[in-house]
């Protein structure tokens, strides 16, 4: 599916990365030509996370989401199946859904009034009898379906590539780690809502941050570690990452930083937990779910918790801040971050409220961590793009100790390692090299 790519740009693609991923061209972060190619070669053939099934419990429930730059409707049809339709009227392209979420019997196009069922079928054309032949075939004028839709722990993924390998195969060993956050409890997770904001950065920058950039935390988030009135818990956030954290690179470009608590640490304390534990019942809740976690995840994974991780290309999850998020591309130097806030579905309401507030305090555009991440992500984007600066590739050589681990799948290292980023960019490069 080569789509008129400028041969000069095509010729440059092999050289954008050094063989082992240690050197990465800055063009990845601002070049409009590469960005156009990515739309097809990366976003056109990867499993993209669009939302969670608890957002649409009943037939007719829907929400809008994005696959790359493109608006899609995610809806539960009459049979309870989740469908993903392009939000573009087959007649002239008007978006047939213009609200963030809701419940619909049909999707009515407000331009000429074509009407579509939850399954996407064209069910009505105004004045059809007067306008079209009696035997007019409407069956190929329904909403365009995204051909592949699959879920994992309720996360809804869609793929434009009908031939793509299954979602589970694509996730591979990432499932082993995602389970520790999403599958800790029998009832799974529940989405409480979504925050959306724009950052002047290339979509890969938030992804490479979450795939294992622990090195940024002491400098970027220094202010948070300084405040904490009489409470060592944020400090613990950093300490526990440095002490217990492991950076793991996985096939498919996925990876992350995972805390592997010692086996005698009975409750696997989360960073910032003391803040949450100030609410009665919250500490007890964290402790009470560990037995269930052990039963479901086993002795090893009971002690594993996600710090940050990234499922290629752009799904990130922060385990102790209760968010999974996507940086939707909005041009080579802009992203729109959607951050879904989640909690265990069967948690008591006070626990849900406390965790939601903790998320809001720490992440999202008002969050005391996120603000300074945003500052840096914007900075590295405009700071990279100068005529001269852009000729010098980035060095991703940190971390020479990566290798196999007796208990953890993947290639494992200490946290000050960029091997997870090299792994992510090599995956990106593989896709970009395939026309």
């Amino acid at each position: 599916m080569a789509r008129g790519v400028d041969p000069a740009v095509e010729k440059d693609i092999p050289g954008l990365l050094s063989e082992d991923g240690t050197w990465v061209s800055r063009r990845l972060f601002f070049d409009p030509d590469l960005y156009e190619i990515e739309k097809h070669r990366v976003f056109g053939r990867s499993w993209l996370m669009v939302g969670h099934d608890t957002q649409i419990p009943n037939p007719g429930d829907f929400f809008l989401s994005f696959m790359g730059e493109e608006s899609v409707i995610v809806v539960r049809d009459n049979e309870g199946k989740i469908r993903v339709h392009l939000n573009s009227c087959p007649h002239r392209g008007m978006p047939v859904c213009r609200e963030d979420r809701g419940h619909a019997r049909t999707f009515f196009c407000v331009y000429h009034g074509w009407n579509f069922g939850r399954d996407g079928a064209l069910v009505g054309i105004p004045n059809q009898r007067a306008t079209y032949p009696r035997d007019f075939d409407k069956s190929n004028l329904g909403l365009f379906a995204v051909p592949r839709v699959e879920t994992y722990h309720g996360l809804i993924f869609a793929n434009h590539d009908a031939e793509a390998i299954s979602l589970e195969d694509s996730l591979g060993d990432m499932k082993w780690y995602l389970d520790t956050s999403l599958g800790r409890r029998e009832g799974g997770i529940e989405v409480l809502g979504v925050q959306k904001w724009r950052v002047g950065t290339n979509w890969k920058v938030p992804a490479e941050n979450m795939v294992g950039d622990v090195a940024h935390a002491p400098a970027t988030h220094s202010s948070v570690f300084q405040i904490v009135p009489g409470d060592p818990s944020f400090d613990l956030a950093l300490k526990s990452v440095l002490e217990y954290g492991r950076n793991v690179a996985l096939p498919g470009g996925h990876g992350g930083t995972f805390r592997v608590y010692p086996k005698d640490d009975s409750d696997g304390r989360l960073p910032g937990e003391a803040v949450m534990r100030a609410t009665p019942g919250v500490g007890e809740y964290f402790e009470s779910v560990q037995a269930e976690a052990e039963e479901r995840l086993g002795e090893v994974r009971k002690h594993v918790k996600i710090a940050t991780c990234m499922t290629f290309p752009n799904l990130c999850l922060l385990g102790s801040n209760f968010t999974f998020r996507v940086a939707h591309p909005r041009g080579p130097m802009k992203s729109e971050i959607w951050s879904w806030v989640f909690v265990d579905r069967d948690a008591p309401q006070t626990v849900k409220d406390t965790l939601r507030k903790f998320y809001t305090l720490t992440f999202g555009p008002g969050g005391i961590f996120e603000q300074d991440d945003g500052e840096n992500w914007e900075g590295v984007t405009y700071g990279s793009s100068g005529v001269e600066a852009s000729t010098h590739p980035f060095h991703y050589g940190a971390g020479l100790d990566a290798g196999p681990h007796p208990e953890l799948p993947g290639t494992v290292s200490s946290v000050y390692s960029e091997h997870t980023q090299r792994n992510m960019y090599r995956r990106w490069h593989d896709l970009m090299l395939q026309p």
Binding site: D100, W197, R198, S222, S223, I227, G366
Partner: protein, 183 residues
């Protein structure tokens, strides 16, 4: 936040009260614009709550009632604070390492359309006002946050204190990486 159901019992808001409320809002705006965050905290009641909800696109169902602002506010929030977390945020801005605000942004708050009603509890005033928060960051980045404040001000011996604030912003997504300012 509902207006007192028993309006008959409510003495009319006096001009002095109106004046005091307006001066409170202007003083508060000046403190925030001048980055006197610790002094600003002194204007908050100890049980102060502070919320800035997200605002969704909602479509009215044909033949049914028009969409209300409340319908748009059913999601989660950008800010969900109490005095302790506001204090933590203010302290953070003073560490010298809150990089998103260091160098600090230049802000100007314009407060208008002040409407004062009796609140639900004795000694409390329900105050609506409109806010334009203009912000200039770095060299040339500008943002505007426009919205309505729904405040509860409490009359105390120390003067008025902010007991509750909900800020309804006129935006669907936040077009900035950074909402590190107080609204």
């Amino acid at each position: 936040m509902t207006e007192s159901s028993n309006q008959a019992e409510n003495a009319a808001i006096s001009l002095e009260e109106l004046h005091e409320v307006e001066q409170f809002l202007y003083r508060e705006a000046r403190m925030l614009d001048d980055r006197l965050f610790m002094e600003w905290l002194g204007l908050l009641a100890d049980d102060c709550t502070y919320r800035v909800p997200t605002r969704e696109n909602v479509q009215a169902v044909r033949g049914q009632d028009a969409v209300t602002t409340e319908d748009e506010l059913a999601g989660i929030a950008y800010f969900e604070d109490d005095k302790l977390t506001l204090m933590g945020k203010a302290m953070r801005l003073g560490t010298g390492t809150a990089w998103g605000e260091n160098p600090p942004s230049r802000t100007r708050r314009l407060v208008s359309n002040v409407e004062v009603l009796r609140g639900e509890a004795p000694g409390e005033l329900l105050v609506y006002s409109n806010l334009v928060l203009h912000r200039s960051r770095r060299v040339d980045e500008t943002s505007q946050f426009v919205g309505q404040r729904r405040d509860v001000l409490r009359q105390t011996e120390k003067g008025l204190l902010l007991a509750r604030r909900v800020v309804v912003l006129d935006m669907n997504i936040c077009d900035s990486s950074h909402m590190g300012n107080f609204f």
